[in-house]
C-alpha cells in the first residue's frame, strides 16, 4: 500500500515541478513586451545604482530582443521600432556610454526622464601656485526638470567626509580648497557629481617691476612668505641696483605672472606679448597710471581716493588705504569690491582677459600700510590678498594634449548633461505612453537566483522523481 502511495506521490510532484518550470521559463522570456505599435519598452527602475553595471545585462538582453523583434517586423512589413527607456536614476558612466553607442548604431532610442535629478555640473582646476589650491565651481540648473518640493542643500564632500554644505546656493557655488582627497563629490538632492582632483603642476616664478621703496619691499616679502619665487630688479642709483632672485628674459615658460607696482618705465611691447601668450599681469597702485600699458588696463584711472583714517583697524581694512578710482571697461570682471561711500561699491580687484593671459588691476596705493599699520591679522591678510591676486592672474594647470582622444561630451563632471548629449533630450510623456507599455519591475528580483536556473532545478527534480517511481514499479514486479 505504501509503495503505491509512494509512486503516486512521485508522479504528482514531478508533474507539478514540470508545470512550474514551464511557467517560469515562459515568464522569463516575457521581459520585453512587444505591443501593437511595435515598440519595445524597457524600464530600468530605481534598483540600478548610479555607479554599477547592473543595468548592462538588462540592456543587452533588451537590445537583443529588439534586434530580433525588428527582424520580425521587417519580415512582417511593419515600420521601424523605437527603443524606449524609462530611467529612474541618472545612469553611470559606462551605462551612459553604452546607451550612446546604442543610439549611434542606428537604433532609435527614446528615454523617459524619471530621475527627478537636477542638472548639476562641476569643474575642478588647480592653480599652479604654491600650495596648489583647488578651485571648484559647481553649477546647478534649477527649474529645468520636475523640482522636488523643498530646496535640498548643496553638499560638498570628499573621501574624508563632508567638507561644506550650502543651502540656497544660487546657480553657481565656488570653493577654494587647500587640499582634498582624490575624488570630490557634490550632491544636490538626488543628483550627484564626482570629479577627480587634478595633480598639481610646476609652479613658475613671478617677476616684480618696482622701484625701491616700502611697497616694493613688503609686496615682495608677502609673496615670498606665501611661497612664491620672485625675481626682479630695483634700481637704486645709476650704477647700483638690487637684484631679487635671478631675473631673466620675460617668458611664459619661466614666469607665470608679472607684478608692476610703481609708475615706472616698462617695456610695454614685451609685457603685451607676454600677456598674449598666456602670462598674467598684476597692476598695483601707481602702475595703473603707466601710459604705455593703457591697452592692458581694465579701464580709466581718474583720481586718488583718500583713505579713511583708522579703517585699517576695522574689518574693512582696505578702506584705510588710498586708492585710484577705476572705471572698469565692459569686458572687465570685478572680482572684489569694497564698501565705499554712499553705499557705492568700489572695485577692489578687477580682472580682464587679454589674448591668452589675464590682467589684474589692484588700485590700492601703498598696500604696505595694511601690513604695518593694521591689526594683528593685517600681515596675514595682506599676504593672502596679494597671493589671491596673483593666483587670479595666472592660468590653470597647463593642459596636456593627449593625441587621438577628443571628448566631445561633458563627461562625468556633468552626468545629466552627458546623458542628454549622448542620447538626446528626454521624451515627453505622451510619446512614450503611446506604446501601452508594460513595466517590468525588476526590483522584485533583487539578489535572487537567476531566473532560468529555477527551471532547470525543477526539471531535474521532476526527472529524478519519475525515475524513482519507475524503479519502484519495476522492483515491485509491475510493468
Amino acid at each position: 500500500m505504501s509503495r503505491h502511495f509512494f509512486e503516486r506521490f512521485c508522479r504528482a510532484v514531478a508533474f507539478i515541478a514540470m508545470l512550474t518550470a514551464l511557467i517560469i521559463s515562459w515568464r522569463a522570456s516575457a521581459n520585453g513586451v512587444t505591443n501593437d505599435a511595435g515598440r519595445l519598452v524597457v524600464a530600468i527602475a530605481d534598483s540600478l545604482a548610479v555607479d554599477s553595471l547592473e543595468g548592462m545585462p538588462v540592456l543587452r538582453s533588451a537590445v537583443v530582443k529588439y534586434a530580433s523583434g525588428r527582424a520580425e517586423a521587417a519580415r512582417a512589413g511593419q515600420g521601424g521600432d523605437t527603443l524606449v527607456l524609462s530611467l529612474g536614476m541618472v545612469p553611470s558612466t559606462p551605462l551612459r556610454a553604452a546607451l550612446g553607442s546604442v543610439r549611434a548604431s542606428g537604433i532609435p532610442l527614446v528615454w523617459r526622464d524619471e530621475t527627478g535629478a537636477r542638472g548639476l555640473a562641476a569643474t575642478v582646476s588647480r592653480a599652479a601656485a604654491p600650495g596648489a589650491p583647488i578651485d571648484l565651481r559647481v553649477a546647478t540648473a534649477r527649474g529645468v526638470l520636475r523640482d522636488a518640493p523643498g530646496e535640498a542643500p548643496l553638499v560638498l564632500r570628499d573621501a574624508g567626509g563632508v567638507l561644506d554644505s550650502l543651502t540656497n546656493a544660487g546657480d553657481v557655488a565656488a570653493w577654494r580648497l587647500g587640499s582634498a582627497t582624490e575624488q570630490l563629490e557634490v550632491q544636490h538632492g538626488r543628483a550627484r557629481v564626482r570629479v577627480a582632483v587634478p595633480d598639481s603642476t610646476r609652479v613658475r616664478r613671478l617677476l616684480v617691476l618696482a622701484q625701491p621703496g616700502w611697497e616694493g619691499k613688503f609686496v615682495v616679502a608677502a609673496l615670498e612668505e606665501a611661497g612664491w619665487l620672485v625675481d626682479g630688479t630695483m634700481r637704486v642709483s645709476p650704477t647700483g641696483a638690487v637684484t631679487i632672485g635671478s631675473p631673466q628674459a620675460l617668458d611664459t615658460a619661466r614666469y607665470s605672472a608679472v607684478i608692476v607696482l610703481d609708475s615706472m618705465a616698462v617695456d610695454a611691447a614685451l609685457l603685451t606679448r607676454f600677456v598674449n601668450r598666456g602670462g598674467g599681469v598684476v597692476l598695483g597702485g601707481d602702475a595703473l597710471r603707466i601710459a604705455s600699458l593703457a591697452a592692458l588696463r581694465q579701464g580709466r584711472v581718474s583720481v586718488l581716493r583718500g583713505a579713511i583714517a583708522g579703517a585699517l583697524l576695522t574689518d574693512a581694512p582696505r578702506r584705510g588705504l588710498e586708492a585710484w578710482e577705476l572705471e572698469p571697461t565692459p569686458d572687465a570682471v570685478v572680482l572684489e569690491t569694497d564698501r565705499g561711500d554712499h553705499a557705492h561699491a568700489e572695485p577692489a580687484l578687477v580682472a580682464r582677459r587679454v589674448g591668452a593671459g589675464r590682467v589684474i588691476a589692484m588700485p590700492y596705493h601703498e598696500t604696505w600700510r595694511w601690513r604695518l599699520q593694521g591689526t594683528d591679522e593685517g600681515m596675514a591678510s595682506h599676504r593672502a590678498w596679494w597671493h589671491g591676486a596673483v593666483v587670479a592672474a595666472i592660468g590653470a594647470t597647463v593642459p596636456v594634449r593627449v593625441a587621438g582622444v577628443s571628448e566631445s561630451h561633458p563627461g562625468s563632471g556633468a552626468p545629466y548633461a552627458d546623458l542628454v548629449a549622448r542620447v538626446g533630450a528626454p521624451a515627453a510623456d505622451s510619446v512614450a505612453e503611446q506604446g501601452g507599455s508594460t513595466r517590468v519591475d525588476e526590483r522584485a528580483r533583487g539578489n535572487d537566483i537567476p531566473l532560468p536556473l529555477y527551471g532547470w532545478v525543477l526539471l531535474g527534480t521532476a526527472l529524478l522523481l519519475l525515475v524513482a517511481e519507475w524503479t519502484s514499479r519495476r522492483l515491485r514486479g509491475a510493468r
Binding site: L156, L163, G178, A180, E336
Partner: protein, 719 residues
C-alpha cells in the same frame, strides 16, 4: 572398563589420557599464544601506520601530543583489526585425537618414517569408551614414550611465549614513548624528530599587550609643591623641569620619546623593575609625547609642559615722572609683584646718571630689598620703600631712573626677572628757571600753540562781547595786549615754518610789531609767499642763507595770525576773530598731518635735495638680495592626517584617538582654534559619542575650505 583390558606393567589408559591431556593443553596454550601474538602484531602495526598517515595528512598544523584524534582513531582501528584478526585466526581447540596425531607425526618426523597412527586410534577408541587392544595400546604408549614431546613442548611453549612477549613489551614501550613525545609519527624504531616547535618557543609567543599605567609628576626642587599622581591618563600637564615617571606592570615596553618642541634632550629612559617597568623623563616648556609599545599595542602620553613665567611687577608710587628743583625730600615708593609659583626676592632699582653733553657717569643703587624662602611660596608681595633724595648725593642736572624688580625662585643663572615701568626724576639746573622751562619729557607740540591760540581767541571774543560797554581807549589797550601775545605766538610758529640752512639755532627772542627790530621777514605787507625771492629777508646775524617755508598749513596759520595781529593792534577785536579762527583751524590741520617738533631747539638743517642729487663720487653697485623663506604651511598635511585618523575610527578607535591627540598637541602653538576643535573630538571619544560632526567641524576650522565668490572669472578669490 577399558582400563582393565590393559595389561600390567604398561601404562594405564588413564595415564595415557592424562599425558595427552597435558599435551593438548600445552598445544592449546601455544596456539593461543600465537594467536595473541598475531593479533597484537596486527594491532600495533595498524596503530603505527594510522598515526603516520594522520601525521602526514595534518602536516600543516602539527598537533599537540596526545591529541584526541591522533590517538583514538588509530587505537580504534587497531582494536578493530585485532578483533578481526582474532576472529579470523580462531580455530578449534585441539582435542585429544588431534594431539595424538600430532605426537605421532612428531615421532614419525624424528624417525623419518610414516606414522602408524596407533596412538591416535587408541585415543579415539578410548574416547569412544571402546576397548583398546593390547597391542595397539602398547604401540601407542611406546610412541608416546619415545617422543620427547613434553620437553620439546615446554621449550616450544616457552619460545612461543617468550619472543612475542618481548616483542610486545618493546612495542608497547615505543608506543608509550611516542605518545609522550610532542612530535607526531616519530615513534617507533628511534626515528628522529623532524619538525615542530620546541618547548621554549611555545611559551615565549604570548606577550601581553600594554595595559594601564600610572603617571607621577614631581615638580622641580625649587618649587615646593607635592608630587601628583594620575591613573591611566593620556595627557598630563607639567611644569617645565618636572620629573615625569610612568610605571606599569608586565614586561618592559619599547620606548620612543618625541620632544615636540626641542628645548633640549628629553632624556627619557625606561627600565624593568620588580613589579613591572618604569619610564622617566623630564618635562620641558613645550609639548612632548612619549610613545610606549608592547605586544602590538602602542600608547601615547602627551606631556603639556608649561614654562615658569616671569614675575609681573607694577610700580604704584610714585605715579609719574617729575622734576625737582632741589635734591631734598623723600619719595615714598610702593610696588606690587605677582608670580605664578613663588617670589624669591624683590627690590627697587635706581640708576643715577650725572653729567651733560657727552660725558655721563652712572651708578646703580638698590633699595628696600626683600627676600622670601621658596617654601613660603609667596605669590604676591608688596614692596615699600623710601627714596631719600638727599642721601643719594644728587647734583643739579642728575637724572634718577627708578623701577621695581622681582625675581622668582627659578635656579637658572640667566633667568629673566620681572620689572616694572620706569619713572624718571630729574634735578633741574639753576639756569633752567631763568627762561621758559623746557620739560625733559615729550616736548610741547603744536598743542601748546593750539591752546594759546584758542585762549587768545577766547579772550578776543570776550573782549568783543564786552566792547559796547567799555570805553574805546580800554578796548584798544586790551586788544593790543592780545595782539602782543598773538605776535609772540606767531613768531614761535614762524620759527618752525621758516628754516634756515645755516645750522645755527634761531634766536629765541620774541619780536612784536613795534619793538624796533628790523624784521627782515616783513615783506609784502607781512604775508610771505613761498618763494626763494625772499632772500632779502635777512636777520641780524647777517647770514646769507635763503629762507624756505616747508609747512603749508602752518604757513596759513602764520598768515592768519598776522592778519589777526594787525586787526587787534588797530583795536578791532571783532575783525580779528575770523583770522584767529582760520589760524586755529590751520594749526589743527597741521597737527593732524604730521607730528611737529616745537621745542626750544627745532631741527636746523633742511637738505636741498635737488642740489645734491647724485653728486656723490660713488653711486653703489649691483647687489643680490637674499630671498625670504616661505612660511611653512601645515594645513594640507594636517588635513590629510585628520582624514586618516577619521578613517581609523571604525576599525581601530584607540589608534584614532592617539592620532588625534598627537595632532592636537602639535597644533597647540600655531593653530589654537584647530587644537580646540580637536579637543572636542577627543572629548567625544571619551564619552563614546559620535564624533563625525566634530571631525567635519575640525576640518572646517583648519581653514582648508573657503567659500569664494562665484564670479564669471574662472579663479575664485577669497574675500
Amino acid at each position: 572398563m577399558s582400563s582393565e583390558l590393559l595389561s600390567a606393567g604398561q601404562v594405564r589408559s588413564g595415564d595415557l589420557l592424562t599425558t595427552l591431556e597435558q599435551l593438548r593443553r600445552a598445544r592449546h596454550a601455544v596456539s593461543v599464544g600465537r594467536r595473541l601474538l598475531l593479533t597484537l602484531a596486527g594491532a600495533l602495526a595498524v596503530f603505527v601506520c594510522t598515526r603516520l598517515l594522520l601525521a602526514a595528512l595534518s602536516v600543516a598544523e602539527p598537533p599537540e601530543a596526545g591529541s584526541a584524534a591522533h590517538v583514538s582513531v588509530p587505537l580504534l582501528l587497531a582494536l578493530l583489526v585485532a578483533a578481526g584478526v582474532w576472529w579470523r585466526s580462531r580455530s578449534a581447540a585441539p582435542d585429544l585425537a588431534r594431539t595424538a596425531l600430532w605426537v605421532e607425526e612428531r615421532q614419525a618426523a624424528v624417525r623419518g618414517a610414516r606414522p602408524d597412527f596407533a596412538l591416535t586410534t587408541a585415543v579415539e577408541m578410548l574416547e569412544q569408551h571402546r576397548e583398546v587392544p593390547t597391542s595397539l595400546a602398547q604401540v601407542a604408549v611406546g610412541t608416546l614414550r619415545a617422543s620427547p614431546t613434553l620437553g620439546a613442548l615446554k621449550t616450544e611453549r616457552r619460545l612461543a611465549w617468550q619472543w612475542p612477549l618481548l616483542f610486545v613489551v618493546v612495542c608497547a614501550v615505543l608506543v608509550w614513548r611516542d605518545l609522550q613525545r610532542p612530535e607526531v609519527g616519530a615513534a617507533s624504531d628511534g626515528q628522529s624528530a623532524s619538525r615542530g616547535t620546541t618547548e621554549s618557543t611555545r611559551k615565549a609567543a604570548v606577550v601581553a599587550p600594554l595595559g594601564a599605567w600610572r603617571v607621577r609628576v614631581q615638580p622641580p626642587a625649587y618649587v615646593v609643591q607635592p608630587a601628583r599622581s594620575f591613573d591611566d591618563v593620556n595627557t598630563v600637564p607639567a611644569l617645565s623641569g618636572s620629573q615625569i615617571t610612568v610605571s606599569g606592570e608586565g614586561q618592559e615596553p619599547t620606548l620612543e620619546a618625541d620632544v615636540g618642541d626641542s628645548t633640549g634632550n628629553a632624556g627619557a629612559s625606561i627600565r624593568a623593575t620588580a613589579n613591572g617597568w618604569l619610564a622617566t623623563m623630564r618635562a620641558s616648556a613645550g609639548v612632548q609625547t612619549l610613545r610606549l609599545s608592547r605586544g602590538g599595542r602602542t600608547r601615547l602620553l602627551i606631556v603639556e609642559g608649561r614654562a615658569d613665567s616671569v614675575p609681573r611687577v607694577s610700580l604704584d608710587a610714585p605715579a609719574r615722572d617729575s622734576v625737582f628743583r632741589e635734591p631734598a625730600g623723600a619719595l615714598p615708593l610702593a610696588a606690587t609683584a605677582h608670580d605664578d609659583l613663588g617670589l624669591s626676592r624683590a627690590h627697587f632699582e635706581l640708576i643715577v646718571t650725572s653729567g651733560e653733553g657727552e660725558r655721563f657717569t652712572v651708578r646703580t643703587v638698590l633699595l628696600g630689598e626683600q627676600r622670601w624662602s621658596a617654601a613660603a611660596g609667596n605669590r604676591e608681595a608688596r614692596l615699600r620703600g623710601q627714596l631719600d633724595l638727599a642721601a643719594l648725593g644728587l647734583q643739579a642736572g642728575d637724572v634718577v631712573h627708578l623701577r621695581a624688580v622681582a625675581r622668582d625662585a627659578h635656579p637658572a643663572a640667566d633667568r629673566e626677572f620681572g620689572s616694572s615701568e620706569t619713572r624718571a626724576f630729574r634735578i633741574a639746573r639753576p639756569a633752567e628757571y631763568d627762561s621758559v622751562a623746557v620739560e625733559p619729557a615729550p616736548p610741547p607740540e603744536v598743542d601748546k600753540s593750539l591752546l594759546s591760540q584758542r585762549m587768545l581767541l577766547m579772550l578776543t571774543e570776550k573782549l568783543d562781547r564786552a566792547q559796547p560797554r567799555m570805553p574805546r581807549a580800554e578796548v584798544v589797550r586790551e586788544s593790543q595786549k592780545i595782539a602782543r601775545d598773538q605776535a609772540r605766538l606767531r613768531l614761535a610758529v614762524g620759527d618752525v615754518v621758516f628754516q634756515r640752512l645755516s645750522g645755527e639755532s634761531a634766536a629765541e627772542h620774541a619780536h612784536t610789531a613795534g619793538d624796533g627790530h628790523d624784521h627782515g621777514v616783513d615783506l609784502q605787507g607781512g604775508k610771505l609767499a613761498m618763494s626763494t625771492s625772499s632772500t632779502t629777508g635777512m636777520l641780524e646775524e647777517g647770514n646769507d642763507s635763503p629762507v624756505i617755508a616747508i609747512n603749508q598749513p602752518l604757513l596759513e596759520a602764520y598768515n592768519a595770525m598776522w592778519d589777526a595781529g594787525r586787526a587787534l593792534e588797530q583795536g578791532d577785536p571783532h575783525g580779528a576773530i575770523p583770522p584767529m579762527k582760520r589760524a586755529l583751524e590751520a594749526i589743527e590741520k597741521s597737527r593732524a598731518a604730521s607730528r611737529l617738533y616745537l621745542r626750544g631747539r627745532p631741527p636746523q638743517v633742511i637738505v636741498d635735495i635737488a642740489k645734491v642729487r647724485l653728486t656723490g663720487k660713488d653711486t653703489g653697485q649691483v647687489t643680490v638680495r637674499s630671498a625670504r623663506e616661505p612660511l611653512p604651511t601645515l594645513t594640507a598635511a594636517r588635513d590629510a592626517r585628520l582624514v586618516r585618523a577619521a578613517g581609523l575610527v571604525a576599525t581601530a578607535p584607540a589608534a584614532a584617538r592617539d592620532s588625534v591627540a598627537l595632532l592636537r598637541a602639535e597644533s597647540l602653538v600655531d593653530a589654537p582654534a584647530f587644537a580646540a576643535a580637536l579637543g572636542n573630538v577627543l572629548a567625544a571619544f571619551e564619552r563614546d559619542g559620535d564624533a563625525t560632526a566634530l571631525f567635519v567641524q575640525a576640518r572646517r576650522v583648519l581653514g582648508n575650505v573657503s567659500r569664494t565668490r562665484a564670479t564669471p572669472w574662472s579663479r575664485g578669490v577669497t574675500p
